[in-house]
Symmetry: C2
Subunit: 568 residues, 2 copies
Amino acid sequence: MKTSHFPLSTTKEFPKDAEIISHQLMIKSGMIRRLASGLYTWSPLGLRVLHKVENVVREEMDKSGSLEVLMPSVIPAELWKETGRWDQFGKQLLTLKDRHENDYCLGPTHEEAITDFARQELKSYRQLPISFYQIQWKFRDEIRPRFGVMRSREFLMKDAYSFHIDAASLEAEYQNMYRTYSAIFDRLQLEYRAVLADSGAIGGDRSQEFHVLADSGEDAIVISTESTYAANIERAETHAGTKYAAPQQAFEKVATPNARTVEDVAKQLNVPIAKITKTLIVHAEDGSLIAICLRGDHSLNEVKAGNFKGIANPVVFASDAEIVEKLGVSPGSIGPVNLPIPVLFDHALYSESDFICGANENGFHYVGVNFERDLPFTGTHDFRNIEEGDISPDGQGTVKFIRGIEVGHIFQLGNKYSTAMNASVVNENGEQTIMEMGCYGIGMTRIVAAAIEQSHDEKGIIWPDVMAPFKLSLIPMNYHKSEVVKELADKLYKEFLALGVEVLLEDRDIRPGNAFNDHELIGIPHRLVIGERGLKNNELEYKGRKDAESSFIPVDSAVEFIMNQLKK
Amino acid sequence: MKTSHFPLSTTKEFPKDAEIISHQLMIKSGMIRRLASGLYTWSPLGLRVLHKVENVVREEMDKSGSLEVLMPSVIPAELWKETGRWDQFGKQLLTLKDRHENDYCLGPTHEEAITDFARQELKSYRQLPISFYQIQWKFRDEIRPRFGVMRSREFLMKDAYSFHIDAASLEAEYQNMYRTYSAIFDRLQLEYRAVLADSGAIGGDRSQEFHVLADSGEDAIVISTESTYAANIERAETHAGTKYAAPQQAFEKVATPNARTVEDVAKQLNVPIAKITKTLIVHAEDGSLIAICLRGDHSLNEVKAGNFKGIANPVVFASDAEIVEKLGVSPGSIGPVNLPIPVLFDHALYSESDFICGANENGFHYVGVNFERDLPFTGTHDFRNIEEGDISPDGQGTVKFIRGIEVGHIFQLGNKYSTAMNASVVNENGEQTIMEMGCYGIGMTRIVAAAIEQSHDEKGIIWPDVMAPFKLSLIPMNYHKSEVVKELADKLYKEFLALGVEVLLEDRDIRPGNAFNDHELIGIPHRLVIGERGLKNNELEYKGRKDAESSFIPVDSAVEFIMNQLKK
């Protein structure tokens, strides 16, 4: 391609709402243009990148044995009513009516549509296992679309769905998809982690997210310093440490006048916050109250609490008035000793002795509190958010937090959708059997933005070779004036094209500085400059996009040199 | 691929509403499955075919110099209000509201979206000419979706839009697109014609449709017996023949009691219908009346009449009551002689002398009517539908009618959209200039159905090689029982795969007859059967999909034989 024909419509301006670097750089490089809130047109430059991602994903999915299909984007409401999601999905579901007043949605995901397809096509266990995937634009009516294509309303997904006769077959395909996803993100040359995840609204049994690592990532990920363990903060388990020591202090009630928080108590008693046990009051499923005790410096993980048997999910905290009315004490002075409601303890308290807690009497706390002696030990559970420095959930090393951008997700759905939609096959014994399902998504448009978040500098985007819109910039100085430069530039251009190299020849009549800026901004990995000065020494100037300095290479070996760079 | 893994879900059943053969065969072969009215899921088999069409179109569009982009499918109403199409488009436009109650449509076409993109990106004549295309799913809310993907609600289009500084540049790109479309349909191995067309609702100046020829086609096309001329019936011009001869008969009034139609008059006077001139009364733009005279056996072309200066468009026929009131005569006895309103003559009357027409007196006609002697000759115009046997509009040969399926359309839009949306660039003299536009569409999903309409037999689909989902069927007899057959089948399968041949190995444990039926139904062009009987003579059985008989080829030359077939 030549820039005279291929539009590089770079700009220095970007809209105020472009808060993150990938959004800014996609606008500045001209990859996308806003059509409306959360809706973008992909320019020729942007689409070249997106197609490269698409090709890698398609090749690896084909290799995995999954079969490509394409479902409509407009899905009839009936199917979503069969699974109950028509009412559950909320306002992100864009609904519409056709001219006959029939209801539809613009598919944000296609579990219902594929399950409908599968229950028509699949009749026998002999047809299983089978996996279908599609690469398709989806729609989510975000309340506040932002971050460009990172959280746009239309977005390109690869979504795959597998069908199985039993859980063992599903597990095998889940592993196959894990390997496939790893291969995809490896080929895309991204730094990523597979992260244990809560499966959230889609439901199901087991899931992992694939995150591209970037400081600007929306999600915090817990990783081990020693192993490959990685998990969502919400999901990372904490463990009980060593058992509490024998009591050293006497059990005593002390005055803590006007202390409302653990910080107040710590200050008044001049102890570390960690010595204090705090007591949170939540609703049980039946509306009665339950106490959860945590170490003073820890925070409650509401996902874990909500999943605990007997506790209302999502978690509902008792109001101050409710606490005063039912427990006869203000929230700042509650404690587990003789509390007339069920009391649960977080794992971190297992190691605690001689601790401090509210005395269930306004303005008083107990000190020197010990399990067994002062209150019964009823076991501990995982209720808190993991913290940096904690022992890794897999027992190897400690954990630290990094940030990531979710670009993929693999789920074991189990039979949630197949049961609701009665998607069954005949098994070996001739009995109708509900199929097990897995689903596996990749955010294609999001990958483009995530790659930029991970790899850029002050000059612009730095593409991994595989995603770059062009591999090589050919920049002649004075192309329109110097015969010798033009001749060599045209010759090299043709040679590279013949070798299958995606080369972009700068043949616009613009200042060299502007040309360099444009080609660096759009992130082309390799650059050859052809100038009369260098040609006097029979040399061209080469610079890799990440290089600090350029180097000179003999004209005669330029093609070979570039071909070697591209092989790296 | 092996059929054990690649689902051939053929069926003998098809829904009652599958009226046309392509719809029936796409269902029977398992290429598509209905999700809802006019909405289809493309199965792995169907999508393979669609992708082949897509690849050919993309390659040729890239070759043409057009640049691929991708616009959102959800388009804000504001843009459609700028051009007025929000109110004009009618109920085929599927509209919707987002959570903030903003209006959008699902794009049935993207003139507004691309013009919005272009007015942001294009600032100077130096950036012109430029052409953008996209391959994208579109939506039209058909009142009665039918014929499968031939008239579905979601359909895949290639739509391209070009921008120009002047009409000459637009004409050049129009010719470029004409050549590109011809190359596309040539490569798709379809029998097609480029047909002069009325540009219809999209508006603009000049347009041609590309039709795949098929007896079942919805559209009638006029072609020349001698030249490449082809046009829509609505558009095909008729010409005046030789000038009328001198009068031979006396001008006389004769009684035609109760004659209401030209047929009645012809019968009563015992003359051919063609000797009678019929007079139709239509509204002028100002609501007054205008007469149009046609030869008795000809029919009015309302598109031509509506386009005639002064006549209301669309054409409004005067009611019987209106005729009686204003002209004082019933419709069956009107004629051009002394009619007190403007009278227009069709070209065919130019050759007429001694003709018959109404006498403007109930129950009477004139016979022996001649121009100049009996009524003034005011010239003739093109008002009628062309008929088989007429002289071809290009003067070469006569015309005949064939039927076609519209799969492509190229338009010169002119400045309709660019004016409405103020899409201008600076010209050479520094003045803001509204751009000229062209638009060019191809119905990708429709091509698949049209190819089937054009090429099938009682056994099923006969794909052109380029569109076939697989090129070669490899059918071993007793694959699961005969070692020697299995060994050779597996060996050939690997050899063909290594040679890049898209081969489908039949490895299901089904009856040979069922296997043959499946592979013929889905239209695979070449078939090799491996059986113990043939192997005794060291032979395989080959049959091309169109062949009446199979032939035997030596095992050793089978690969070479197939490779030669594929080159054809």
